[in-house]
């Protein structure tokens, strides 16, 4: 059973990478479920929405959409704006997701911030199947999120412990993944551009609307610097 071994091995390799996300997603999922619960929705809503939307911040926004006036076009436009950063992830993963067969559809469907950052940066050992590794990272993250939302939605008001600040685990994860990428690369132009432009845009445009201008300016800068950057990379 060579292929079964291959799958089991990929699972065992993927699992440790997802442990921080287990902590973060179960906690955030519970918070989301409780939020839905206190907003007057039965547990079916957070369970179905966490499984089908699978984009954390957008699901919190969706609660407000459901409580407001019916406006499907606004819901669609708002989702495109909040989730526009996925376009960058997609372009980054074009090559990595190549040759993963039918799993590719699920990999793209489940490409949340966390799955992207792990699948994009993890050093997968040569003897581990990359497609199955990325599949399990995505699947495990997806299940943590749905489980958390289900617990929150079902038990809602029963959960009581001082978890204030636990949501920082997701920030910590992204900072560490950014650091890992930084330590691995020889040139930091792109990382610095991403940090700098995003910070400036956050200051100028504010938290609600900085993502789109930040993405556009990053794209323009990278394209404008294509020649010198490629030269610098080639010299390494």
């Amino acid at each position: 059973m060579a292929s079964k071994n291959k799958i089991v091995k990929a699972f065992h390799t993927a699992l440790p990478y997802t442990i921080p996300i287990f902590a973060g997603f179960v906690f955030l999922g519970i918070a989301y479920g409780i939020y839905m619960n206190t907003s007057g929705f039965s547990a079916v809503y957070p369970i179905v929405m966490s499984a089908t939307i699978f984009a954390g911040s957008m699901e919190f926004v969706a609660v407000n959409l459901l409580l407001g006036a019916f406006d499907p076009i606004r819901a669609f436009a708002l989702t495109l704006m909040v989730n526009a950063r996925h376009l960058f992830y997609g372009i980054s993963m074009l090559d990595k997701y190549k040759g993963t067969g039918r799993k590719k559809h699920y990999l793209i469907f489940g490409m949340c911030d966390e799955s992207f950052s792990i699948n994009c940066t993890a050093d997968i050992p040569a003897d581990v199947d990359k497609g199955w590794f990325m599949f399990f990272v995505t699947l495990l993250n997806h299940s943590y999120w749905v489980c958390g939302a289900a617990i929150g939605g079902l038990l809602g008001s029963l959960v009581q412990f001082n978890t204030k600040g636990l949501e920082f685990v997701m920030t910590a994860l992204f900072v560490v993944i950014f650091l890992e990428q930084w330590m691995k690369e020889k040139r930091h132009y792109s990382a610095l551009l991403g940090l700098g432009i995003s910070s400036l845009c956050l200051i100028f445009f504010g938290g609600e609307s900085f993502i789109i201008p930040a993405m556009l300016i990053i794209l323009v800068c990278l394209m404008a610097m294509k020649k010198p950057l490629e030269k610098a990379e080639a010299c390494v």
Partner: protein, 110 residues
């Protein structure tokens, strides 16, 4: 609840559609069986670091420097994560350490 069930389902459907669109679009525009244009390959190589930088800043979008705790607990915790990671370079140690420091700061000090 002002919306009917059908209206709720349509709203949720639009959110799903919007999310799926942002995730699938690059793969539809640049299919695997056709050669990817040079400048997209270049972007694919350069974008991950920039996208991770954007993601880190995105985490701080609700932090206000001017009021509340002025982002001080966030700053201290990120500094701790960087120090821990340079020192030990163990992902889980850095993540857990930074989170615990942040929780202690916001629960007991700020």
């Amino acid at each position: 609840m002002t919306m009917t069930l059908i209206q709720q389902l349509i709203t949720i459907g639009m959110v799903i559609l919007g999310t799926v669109a942002t995730r699938f679009l690059p793969f539809l525009v640049f299919p695997a069986d056709k050669p990817t244009p040079k400048y997209i390959r270049y972007l694919g190589k350069m974008l991950p670091s920039a996208a991770l930088g954007l993601l880190v800043i995105y985490c701080f979008k609700d932090v206000s420097i001017l009021d509340g705790t002025h982002g001080i607990p966030e700053l201290i915790s990120v500094a701790a994560i960087v120090a821990l990671h340079i020192w030990k370079r163990q992902m889980l140690v850095s993540i857990a350490g930074g989170t615990i420091i942040y929780m202690l700061l916001v629960q007991f000090i700020f």
